[in-house]
Amino acid sequence: MTQISVRVDGASYSDDVEPRTLLVHYLREQLGKVGTVVGCDTSNCGACTVHLDGEAVKSCTVLAVQADGCEVTTIEGIGRDGALHPMQKAFHEMHGLQCGFCTPGMIMASIDLVNDNPNPSEDEVREGIEGNLCRCTGYQNIVRAVQQAAAEMSGGTAAATGAQS
């Protein structure tokens, strides 16, 4: 067992973990942060995406011990003061989810994408989220959601949102 200390969604935790424990299993099973889910075992689907010190990572590909001393943000921690994050709001408004299983990871990856590229084109969004699989939506409404959120996050108008249907 190895002791780690992490801040997750604004709270501090100190725990003993097996060295082989993946970050996603630590979050789900030890912290009860079940908003973050596991969708595959080859780091293809991205359902487990969280932010590690502000950068999107697939938490099935990070050992819990690697997060020692780090700040982790999950889908459960991105709202502020009872309000939804603009990306959450945009996924709702653009119908960017159906079953919702990929959604936490998709939202976390999309926030990271927009942090890097505040005004992504449709193609840039599609390339930017290709590490996250969705089986329900066909992605079109996810693309629209990311573009709408990008406009809101950069304080702009909806100029960048996909006006096409």
Binding site: L84, C99, F101, C102, E130, C136, Q164
Partner: protein, 829 residues
């Protein structure tokens, strides 16, 4: 952190509004109840030891090392449950003499596909259980694997099940002439000017829902609660009771948030039964959650047919007859509706065309692979692919424009209702209008002009345009029809409405959503019927203790059957409330009008009494009519009279790089008629998602087995579920012809895109390279196959170069050391 939409005011209609979904609030914030989230005191974890070989006798099983491993509570093999595990159910004996070999949840003497359960580890943690899997030592006496359907049906073929006499489960025939629905097929073909015959391959697919399957069982005395990521909690309850012997009234099944299904969770799975058996044995709660590779390897697959299609026509392009001969791969066992899937397609092969004669034959064939079963469309994508592909082939033979050929033969708007040669009565439609709208949406004339330019300049990138003018049967199903097809249950749906004292409304539905947005659409239905605000309605589902009767969600049935049950229940609530209102307002029922949620006496302003006030008055029950129970709650069970028949025209424009074989969808446009649209946002989302899966069959996805029966596409590295970058923008539209068969007017939308897209995409690719001598390309249209088809002829079907494993193939190193001539082609066929 709530999602508050603007409160509803006035009697504006909810139906037709793009209401944002109620479900989203928990899904976008991570406050979800996936089955794997469940933690119970003392809960134990299951890990399944799975067969590494496709076909073998189990000669020895040594679990002692696993039993001694730290934190392992118990280890079981098939022998431990042999007397109590029963057989997993097959609810659809499609012929009276169909052969069902039985399907143990855990193998006892033989294994028949890679991944079949052979032992169960029960441990204090999931990791402890998983660690012990490696410690189980099982000896296999390997038998030759049967992998190729065409080989499997030959005389003298190796048998999947040695106690059977052949690998054929059933031979199903539907002959329109013999059924009295059509002309004599043989005569039609004898009289025809032209007959075109083709062999198409529907590759094996994997539903690949995003949420891996999971089951939790909590025993409480002699009661059991089963949580499962299932599409069918109601069917699961009755089936699990019959399989395990747990009395049905002692078993509660709950489908909490379920992360997609696409037919893949329309199943009674071995692991659900094993969880029940272990929980019963140990008296402790247990949980099993699969890994993705377990899911791809052992959750049921879809499609997998070899189709022989013959079409007869005259020189002018009038179709005269259609003959269909199928081999349908059942896999190793018959699961819930395995044999029924190709039979659901049997009635749809003639599509939207006026074939005077039609004959369908299907052999269900056993192989040493995971069983097939429902996958989005279930039989209808296969049928639609065949007819839309053969119409293009006929057009080529006749030197006719493929759209002109279709137009010449499809049912005209004024000819509905139309009874087809398959005996179905199509309810409504207007194929001309949908097609015209789709042509405009995609910019057809300009694309044809560009295609011509590229042809003339011999551009290495050629352009093709493909059509799919499709229909499907939705709204499963009239119970009597299901009975005539020997299906094991009915096709009705149940709903009830509970009027709470504060005027809030609970709607209980037997439909069980897993991403379709029932909570939103059902709220819209009830808001209109009862005149109560959308926000005042809560939709309850997926728990057999709350929703006692139901037939669940599949086959695009929810709105057209389950939604109608909701409307019928609401009508009963209003009828009861009307009696109370008449009593309280001291008026005759006949003098009351109900509008915007209020009863008022006709011609007497200011007399309004809202249905929500009546709910409170009925709760108090101080003053209600004589002879009436003090309740305005109601329930309804709706059994449809007929199927509904959504239709649409899908057009794909495809670029094909003739030098590299790379295909790229330039544009995709579709116009679907799904009847009345309750929520356009949800309808558009269903179309998009269906298109993605239909396109994925054409271009990306294939479950490949090697020569020994190993699934070589057992991870998302190899099984290519498309990403956002792999799919195009969709231009989608609708025409609306209300379904005449139900009061909502809805036809069903869940499978439309998936059914329609695949042939449009393949037809487009072929249209791009037909002038280069290519007449077929095997799905999925990988660059390698497209390149081979262009440069080497044939359908490009031969798999990857010898020595690679990119697409499996015969050269993959053997696991079991057995490779027979019969299986040397592996998944290639």
């Amino acid at each position: 952190m709530t999602l508050v939409d603007e409160p509803t005011t006035g009697p504006a209609k909810e139906i037709g509004q793009p209401r944002k979904r109620k479900e989203d609030a928990r899904l976008i914030t991570g406050r979800t109840t996936w089955t794997d989230n469940m933690v119970l005191p003392g809960m134990l974890h299951l890990a399944i030891v799975r067969s590494p070989v496709a076909h073998a006798r189990i000669t020895r099983a040594d679990v002692s090392a696993a039993q001694a491993a730290p934190n392992v509570v118990a280890v079981y093999t098939g022998r431990d449950f042999a007397d109590e595990q029963g057989s997993l159910p097959c609810a659809w004996p499609v012929t009276p003499d169909m052969v069902n070999p039985g399907h143990p949840s855990i193998a006892v003497e033989t294994v028949n596909h890679v991944g079949e359960a052979v032992a169960v580890i029960v441990a204090r943690s999931k990791t402890a259980a998983q660690d012990a899997v490696e410690l189980v030592d099982i000896d296999y006496d390997v038998l030759p694997p049967v992998l190729d359907m065409e080989e499997a049906v030959k005389d003298g073929a190796d048998l999947v099940h040695s106690h059977l006499t052949s690998n054929t489960s059933f031979h199903f025939v539907f002959d329109g002439g013999e059924a009295g629905a059509a002309a004599n097929t043989d005569q039609a073909f004898a009289d025809a000017d032209i007959v075109v015959s083709r062999r198409f391959v529907q590759q094996r697919l994997i539903p690949a829902f995003m949420e891996p399957r999971s089951a939790v069982v909590q025993p409480q005395g002699d009661n059991y609660t089963l949580w499962s990521s299932t599409q069918i909690p109601h069917i699961l309850r009755v089936m699990a009771a019959m399989v395990t012997g747990i009395p049905e009234h002692k078993l509660r099944v709950i489908a909490p948030d379920v992360g997609g299904g696409f037919g893949g969770k329309l199943q009674v799975i071995p692991e659900e039964i094993l969880c029940l058996l272990v929980a019963r044995r140990l008296g402790k709660p247990v949980k099993w959650t699969e890994s993705r590779s377990e899911s791809l390897m052992t959750a049921h697959h879809g499609r997998d047919q070899i189709q022989h299609i013959d079409i007869a026509a005259d020189r002018e392009g009038n179709v005269k007859g259609l003959k269909v001969r199928l081999l349908a791969d059942m896999g190793a066992y018959l699961r819930l509706v395995t044999p029924g899937v190709p039979i659901l397609g049997a009635f749809m092969f003639i599509g939207i065309y006026k074939f005077p004669a039609y004959r369908f034959e299907c052999d269900g064939v056993f192989t040493n692979k995971v069983p097939t079963d429902a996958y989005r469309g279930a039989g209808r994508p296969e049928a639609t692919f065949a007819v839309e592909r053969i119409m293009d082939e006929l057009a080529v033979e006749l030197d006719m424009d493929p759209l002109e050929l279709r137009r010449k033969n499809w049912i005209k708007a004024e000819e509905f209702p139309f009874t087809t040669a398959a005996g179905l009565t199509y309810d409504s439609g207007d194929y001309d209008t949908a097609t015209q709208a789709a042509l405009e949406l995609i910019g057809y004339d300009e694309l044809r002009a560009e295609q011509q330019r590229r042809r003339e300049s011999n551009d290495p990138v050629q352009l093709g345009i493909g059509f799919s003018t499709f229909t499907e049967m939705c709204g499963l199903a009239p119970s009597r029809v299901l009975g005539s097809l020997a299906y094991g249950a009915g096709g009705w749906e149940q709903a009830s409405i509970r009027m709470l004292p504060t005027g809030k409304v609970e709607v209980v539905t037997g439909s069980t959503p897993h991403g379709q947005g029932h909570e939103t659409s059902w709220s819209q239905l009830v808001a209109d019927e009862l005149g109560v605000p959308f926000e005042d309605i809560e939709v309850l589902h997926g728990d057999t203790s709350i929703s006692s009767r139901g037939m669940d969600t599949y086959g695009s049935r929810s709105l057209v059957v389950g939604g109608v049950a909701v409307v019928k229940a609401a009508e009963k609530v209003v009828a009861k409330a009307r009696k109370v209102a008449a009593h309280l307002l001291e008026a005759s029922e006949d003098d009351l009008e109900f509008s915007g949620g209020s009863f008022s006496v006709r011609g007497t302003p200011g007399t309004g009494l809202s249905i929500q006030e009546i709910a409170l008055a009925t709760f108090a029950a101080h003053n209600y009519p004589e002879g009436m129970e003090p309740s305005i709650d109601a329930e309804a069970t709706y059994d449809p009279e007929n199927f509904s028949f959504p239709h649409g025209t899908h057009i794909c424009a495809m670029e094909v790089d003739t030098e590299t074989g790379r295909v790229k969808i330039r544009k995709y446009a579709c116009v679907d008629d799904v009847g009345t649209i309750v929520n356009p946002l949800i309808v558009e989302g269903q179309i998009h998602g269906g298109l993605a899966q239909g396109i994925a069959q054409a271009l990306y996805e294939e479950a490949v087995y090697d020569a020994d029966g190993n699934l070589t596409t057992g991870t998302f590295v190899d099984y290519l579920v498309p990403s956002a970058a792999d799919l195009p923008h969709f231009d989608s539209g609708n025409t609306v012809h209300a379904a005449p068969g139900n009061p909502i007017g809805a036809k069903g939308v869940g499978e439309a895109g998936c059914i329609a897209a695949t042939p449009a995409v393949v037809n487009a690719a072929l249209d791009a390279v037909r002038h280069l001598g290519v007449s077929d390309i095997r799905m999925p249209l990988t660059p390698e196959r497209v390149w081979r088809a262009i440069h080497q002829g044939g359908d490009g079907g031969g798999r990857a170069t010898t020595g690679t494993t990119a697409y499996g193939g015969a050269s993959t190193e053997t696991t079991a050391g057995v490779s027979t001539d019969a299986s040397s082609l592996g998944g290639d066929r």
